[in-house]
Amino acid sequence: MNWLIAVLQTTLFVILAPLLAGWVKCCKCRLQNRKAPSVFQPYRDLLKLTYKQPVVSEQASWLFIKAPYIIFSATVLAATVVPLIAVDLPTSATADVIVMVGFFAFARFFLALAGLDVGTAFGGMGSSREMTISSLAEPAMLMAIFTLTMAASTTNLSFAIAHVLNEGLVLRPSFVFALAALILVAIAETGRIPVDNPATHLELTMIHEAMILEYSGRHLALIEWASQLKLMLYGVLIANIFFPWGIAETLSLEAFGYGLLAIMGKLAVLAMFLAIAETLVAKMRLFRVQEYLSFAYLLGLLGMLSHIILEASR
């Protein structure tokens, strides 16, 4: 029964991810004084892509064709680790934050290889940029997460969330720093403005999109879906670690319903902030990204220091 719920939770993740992407787009459109497409548009796009026949370059190896499935699966596995509506599920034993980062790195590894595989200049360029950015983003992310896990004395997400819930609403300087760091990393990792522009058509400026330029049909659908899932994962991570209230602590239908509503509400608000931020700033120059991510790392470090200095002794 509990396993069934765990599977259901992951399914919910996968199903709701395009909705979040649609909602972000909708908010952005409204902020730009445009009529927005329906929030369900990403579902239609994915469906359309699955109907289309994928076109694969003659130069592509098996890796290019397998990569979308690997990337999608790895991202789904990462989703099993992150508590969405309930904390005390059987998957929580493996709900280790380092596992999640590992799944992301695994998916990214294959995405970058696939970008290189067909040998186009854009693919290689995208892969090179992606690896540069991720090598800076991952330490910053771990630093932020470690700050949290030090407070909870565990790297297990489920236990960490339970810990925050038990502590109640306490203002911790370390959490404020970690939150800021994690938001900066999330923006970089999910390829949003100001680091990358998911809506651009300019190949030379792309990072994530440059790697997947050669993909079409169901392959593209899987990769798109995986990146929507990744956006949601980061959203849920931020929402549930820092604002866990509302998540189901008991395994009852009522608590689940309440938990689902709570997370959807939290994500909707987060998405609005994302849309506002993306409307307010232009993309930064590529070589500014390292400063940006160093800053995220610094925030994570400050969070950890402030935890040690201010909070650990108590």
């Binding site: 952005k28 200049a121 360029m125 100001p194 190949e203 409307t279 120059r285």
Partner: protein, 524 residues
């Protein structure tokens, strides 16, 4: 002004070096020299800071007429030499004037005239559409061409190579992801730094020069309006001006004022679109949405008042094809007031946005020296300190009735090109109001006179991208013998290769957008 008669002094100087025949055609100063002195003239000209403005050739009977147009202080000199059509060759001017480089290669490709000592003798406009020794602009080449089905791809163009550790090549285009014209860019880069950029254009060659032959004035004006879709008023006006010069007719005052209004409306629409597009290329979509909206409203007024959103075919030989009622004038003025108010608001938002500032300032720097050497025009030149605007420096009707304030910036970066555009919009709005105020009742179209066979005209107007030069020679029976439009893009494109140096690859799109050359106007 004291420098107004530089031509007389220069003619004396040149005459000591070579034989110059001074011929007066219409309002243009024409100097004819021997072909061996072609390069020598350029050397003398560059010492006197003359700007190389245009170059073209034409075939008349068994001879080639080769022309080059120079400018200084708003005064133009047309230089001509005549060579025999057996083994045609003459010394290149591109060694002296880099601006002449592509123009001479264009002439070489389409006429088979060899420019001796040309620094880059690779083909340019010639892709794979014509077999060797087949020169489409020669008179023996059939007007409808020699179609061989689908033109084969141009695979083995000898691009410049770069070698060394970590150097790689990025081919971009000719087909791009956005809805833009085709053109190929070949980058040599180390990491993200651009070592070299080479443009390969010519993909939109439509044979404008060839299909112009044998047309009547009306039909040629329509063709000129299609040289580059976004400059339809500019090119149409330049061509009509050239034809009117050849025919020796004056256009009515009311027609001139309406032409001015049309040209300024075209300028405003394009600058609005460009400012938005520059912001969009650095992912600041808000600006593009707002400016696209403003441009759209502006174009809708065009449709209401002039019957065409982009103002195609509103200018005709001898005048204009549309009138302005007093109701339309009121509508236009009302529009201008609204645009001013809204634009001020949007521009303030852009001006205060530090992330935008970070992207636009210092990026895509074009020095004054390079801008001058390539003879860059319009907003590209004016953003790099090239203080030249025909509307002020060589005013033609109706600009001779107003004072034009020329927008000038000296930083030479993307931001400068952005602000020049904004200032030009404000100037254009004032000009439109001014022209409307001066409108008096009168004819819209003068009486057309069939020009004598062989009469020539040179139309020079300030289009929204800068100076447009249009050359026309008439044949007998009101037919066109030669039409050559020189779009400002032809001189601005080479500047792009220079201004992207020391920038990083992902900054190229915004650099390119800040220059916004026309592919169609360049390829002809």
């Amino acid at each position: 002004m004291s420098h107004s008669n530089w031509t007389a002094n220069f003619l004396i100087q040149v005459s000591t070096n070579m034989t110059v025949t001074h011929i007066d055609i219409a309002s243009v100063t024409l100097w004819q020299i021997e072909s061996y002195a072609w390069q020598r003239f350029a050397e003398l000209a560059v010492q006197q800071n003359l700007r190389w403005a245009a170059g073209w050739a034409e075939q008349i009977d068994k001879q080639f007429f080769i022309n080059a147009c120079f400018e200084k202080h708003g005064e133009y000199v047309l230089l001509r030499t005549i060579i025999d059509d057996s083994n045609p060759k003459l010394p290149s001017q591109a060694t002296v004037y880099p601006a002449a480089n592509r123009s001479e290669r264009h002439t070489q490709d389409l006429f088979g005239i060899k420019f001796i000592g040309h620094p880059d003798s690779r083909r340019w406009t010639r892709h794979q559409a014509w077999i060797e020794k087949n020169y489409p602009l020669r008179k023996d080449f059939p007007l409808q061409g020699t179609p061989v089905g689908i033109t084969p791809p141009d695979r083995d163009y000898p691009f410049i190579k770069a070698h060394g550790q970590g150097v790689y090549e990025i081919p971009v285009g000719p087909v791009h992801a956005g809805i833009i014209e085709p053109g190929h860019f070949r980058f040599q880069a180390v990491g993200e730094l651009i070592l070299n950029l080479e443009e390969r254009l010519g993909y939109t060659h439509k044979g404008i020069e060839k299909i112009a032959e044998g047309r009547e004035p009306e039909s040629l004006a329509r063709l000129a309006g299609r040289v580059s879709g976004d400059t339809t008023v500019g090119h149409c006006w330049a061509a009509c001006m050239a034809m009117e010069q050849a025919a020796g007719i004056e256009i009515p005052a009311r027609a001139a004022l309406i032409r001015g209004i049309l040209a300024e409306r075209e300028r405003v629409a394009n600058h609005l679109g460009d400012i938005g597009a520059i912001c969009n290329d650095v992912a600041f979509v808000f600006a593009q949405m707002q400016l696209t909206r403003l441009r759209e409203l502006w174009l809708r007024t065009n449709a209401t008042v002039f019957g065409h959103r982009l103002l195609m075919d509103t200018i005709v030989p001898g005048g204009v094809a549309c009138d302005l009622s007093s109701a339309s004038c009121a509508l236009i003025k009302n529009d201008i007031a609204e645009l001013r108010m809204e634009l001020a608001e949007v521009i303030l938002v852009l001006d205060l946005n530090s992330s935008l500032e970070d992207r636009l300032y210092t990026a895509g720097f074009l020095s004054e020296e390079i801008a001058a050497a390539f003879g860059t025009l319009g907003y590209v030149g004016r953003a790099s300190g090239q203080d030249f605007d025909l509307r002020r420096d060589a005013p033609y009707a109706p600009y001779n009735r107003v004072t034009v304030k020329v927008a000038l910036e000296t930083q030479g970066d993307i931001a400068s090109r952005f602000w020049v555009r904004y200032k030009e919009i404000r100037t254009a709005l004032r000009l439109i109001e001014n022209f409307i105020d001066q409108l008096a009742a009168g004819d819209l179209r003068g009486q057309w006179k069939t020009p004598l066979a062989g009469s020539e005209g040179l139309g020079i107007v300030e289009g929204w991208r800068g100076e447009i030069i249009s050359y026309i020679r008439f044949d007998a029976d009101n037919k066109i013998a030669r039409f050559y439009p020189r779009d400002p893009s032809q001189l601005n494109w080479p500047a792009l290769e220079k201004l992207v140096l020391n920038n990083i690859v992902p900054d190229f799109p915004v650099c390119n957008k800040s220059l916004n050359g026309s592919y169609s106007g360049n390829d002809l």
